[in-house]
């Protein structure tokens, strides 16, 4: 237990250089985005004097390393500044926006876990039959369809032709508005999970203890449930975690298309309107979220699988 604890501490420390690197990269990137921020804020009709005074006020005329230092200390103390676009404190906007993204992402993950898991198990048990082929064909299609296009097709079917669900928008989170974006995101996610589950189960099927269980006369169904699925859960769970971080890109696209006002929509709006404080903060937070999810996946590996050693 102490070993595990020190392993966790060690891993947390190893995040420090990554987060520093991340902040430098994001700071540099946003500095490079063309356009004069002070002039944008002042408006097109402002005189040079006004623009200059805004520049002074915002500290944009100071050396870069001081600006960077400011950015990182502000970020660490939770002072994200004001959004140029809305004029509100970003600190107050983010939590709400973040929760909406979590609503969508977690819903998709949970449903995909079951849908993908069941499809993968069926596929593995009846390997090389027509069912296996059909399920694998569906999975690879789910992975290959461009998300922004499947989103349109789903909107076309359910909102325009059937007219049963709203094409886009947001009300309270878990209502009719979440169905279409969640369905779109599920396609690649469940597909990925079905494939991982299938190969994990096929791997486990060949182990000796499974053969023993069969030899004992247990019927196939119980062998699968008791001995195989339990062991295949490890890769399924880690895949869900990995998917969650990989899914962030998809979430961004889906939020834009379905006007779901979460982190993805927020970061995209900030990007297009060159709202640098909002963009900086949102990008940093999304990236840190991804890093933390990956860390959790690694830790769950170490927790679930005793063969993984804590020291390197």
């Amino acid at each position: 237990m102490i070993k595990l604890f020190s392993y966790i501490i060690k891993r947390l420390f190893s995040l420090i250089p990554i987060i520093i690197g991340l902040s430098i990269l994001i700071f540099a990137f946003l500095y490079l985005i063309p356009g004069d921020v002070a002039r944008m804020i002042a408006g097109p009709s402002a005189t040079d004097e006004v623009v200059n005074s805004i520049r002074m006020e915002m500290g944009l005329n100071r050396p870069l390393y001081i600006q960077y230092f400011d950015f990182i200390t502000d970020f660490l103390t939770g002072d994200f500044g004001k959004s140029y676009q809305s004029g509100n404190l970003i600190k107050n906007e983010i939590p709400q926006v973040f929760i909406r993204t979590l609503q969508l992402a977690i819903t998709v993950q949970i449903i995909s876990f079951f849908v993908g898991g069941v499809l993968g198990i069926i596929s593995a048990i009846w390997r090389k039959t027509i069912w296996d082929r059909i399920i694998m064909a569906i999975s690879v299609s789910g992975l290959s369809l461009p998300l922004f296009w499947s989103a349109l097709v789903i909107q076309l079917i359910f909102s325009i032709y059937l007219g049963v669900l709203p094409p886009s928008g947001y009300e309270s989170g878990f209502d009719q508005f979440i169905i279409l974006p969640a369905l779109t995101l599920m396609l690649p996610n469940s597909g990925m999970l079905a494939r991982v589950t299938r190969s994990a189960i096929i791997d486990v099927m060949n182990f000796d203890y499974v053969r023993t269980a069969r030899a004992k006369g247990l019927n196939n169904f119980w062998v699968v449930i008791k001995h195989i699925v339990r062991n295949a859960l490890i890769p399924m769970i880690t895949m869900t975690g990995t998917n969650l971080s990989r899914m962030m890109g998809g979430v961004i696209m889906i939020e834009i298309i379905f006007t779901w006002p979460g982190m993805g929509k927020y970061v995209y709006d900030a990007l297009l309107s060159k709202d640098l404080p909002a963009l900086q903060t949102a990008t940093m937070l999304i990236a840190i979220l991804v890093i933390l999810i990956n860390l959790l996946v690694d830790l769950s590996y170490a927790l679930i699988d005793p063969r993984i050693k804590y020291e390197e």
Binding site: P17, I18, G21, L22, L25, I26, F29, L30, L32, I33, P34, A137, V140, S141, L143, S144, L145, P146, L147, F148, W149, S150, L152, V153, Q155, L156, I160, I202, N206, M248, G249, I252, M253, I256, V267, Y268, L271, T283, I286, A287, I288, V290, I291, N294
Partner: protein, 284 residues
């Protein structure tokens, strides 16, 4: 040749996928001969049997896939869009490979501090969702074909570098590398003459399996207005423009999406079956 035929006899679906991929490459190369119209020719209204109709026109004998709202022939625009997709896919993925392989080779070979720094840098790049990173890069460079290619390289190189680095690390433990070192070969010679050739297998796989991803990023960026700029056709921007006409002209968005998905799907199917086939446990 025999192994080749055997493979396709066992995997007819992979054969179909191969045909589709070859077809797309041919379309990309011979786009001007395949397109039935000038992809830029605008014609907002025309006479059909004495009646005046306005674009977008539905698919028919004159326009196989219909037209967009300016009356531009969608079949021809999709053909040219495929050409851009394939071009970006190959060039951008190729450049990601060059950058990633070089960095991975040196990091894996020298190890130590260099390796540590390079791996932390890849961690940083991988932590930002790829589409967001690509969007930021195209915005910095202002949207264009070149920016899209650079953005895809920025997004793509870290994973290649990690892959190659891992492979290099396992190769350098081999005796023959030590032997070459003992014979007095310098490091650069070892890296490029002995280590690199042993990585060719995974490099080719990673290159070809990365092409669909690059094609998707180009389409995605163009869909969000940050990629190929009008009037040039890109599958992504055609799909995006069609969004406003989803109700009256669904073909406008749907057909280019199928064109895109079919290519990505075929490459994935082909890759999957090849990897399965060469997996020693295939016949279990």
């Amino acid at each position: 040749m025999n192994a080749f035929l055997n493979f396709f006899k066992k995997e007819p679906l992979a054969f179909l996928a191969l045909i589709v991929v070859v077809l797309y490459i041919l379309i990309a190369i011979f786009a001007p001969f395949i397109a039935t119209h000038d992809p830029f020719e605008v014609k907002t209204s025309m006479e059909v049997e004495g009646e005046k109709v306005y674009a977008p026109y539905a698919p028919g004998a004159r326009h196989w896939f219909g037209t967009d709202q300016l009356g531009r022939d969608l079949f021809s625009r999709i053909v040219y869009g495929i050409r851009i997709s394939i071009f970006v896919g190959i060039v951008a993925r190729g450049l990601s490979m060059v950058v990633g392989v070089l960095i991975g080779l040196f990091a894996g070979f020298y190890g130590g501090a260099l390796d540590n720094i390079v791996m932390r840098i890849t961690d940083v790049f991988i932590s930002i969702p790829a589409i967001l990173l690509a969007m930021i890069v195209t915005l910095i460079l202002s949207p264009s074909l070149t920016s899209v290619i650079i953005a895809i390289v920025v997004v793509g190189w870290p994973k290649v570098a990690r892959l190659v680095r891992g492979q290099v690390m396992s190769i350098t433990t081999n005796d023959y590398i030590e032997a070459t070192e003992a014979l007095g070969a310098n490091n650069l010679r070892i890296i490029f003459k002995h280590v690199l050739p042993n990585c060719i297998g995974i490099i080719i796989v990673s290159f070809s399996m990365g092409i669909p991803g690059a094609v998707m990023y180009e389409a995605g960026l163009s869909f969000f207005g940050l990629g190929i700029q009008p009037p040039n056709p890109s599958l992504g921007s055609i799909i995006s423009n069609g969004r406003g006409y989803l109700m009256f002209a669904p073909w406008y968005s749907i057909i280019p999406g199928i064109a895109l998905a079919l290519f990505v799907l075929s490459v994935n199917v082909l890759g999957d079956t090849l990897i399965d086939y060469y997996d020693p446990t295939y016949n279990r």
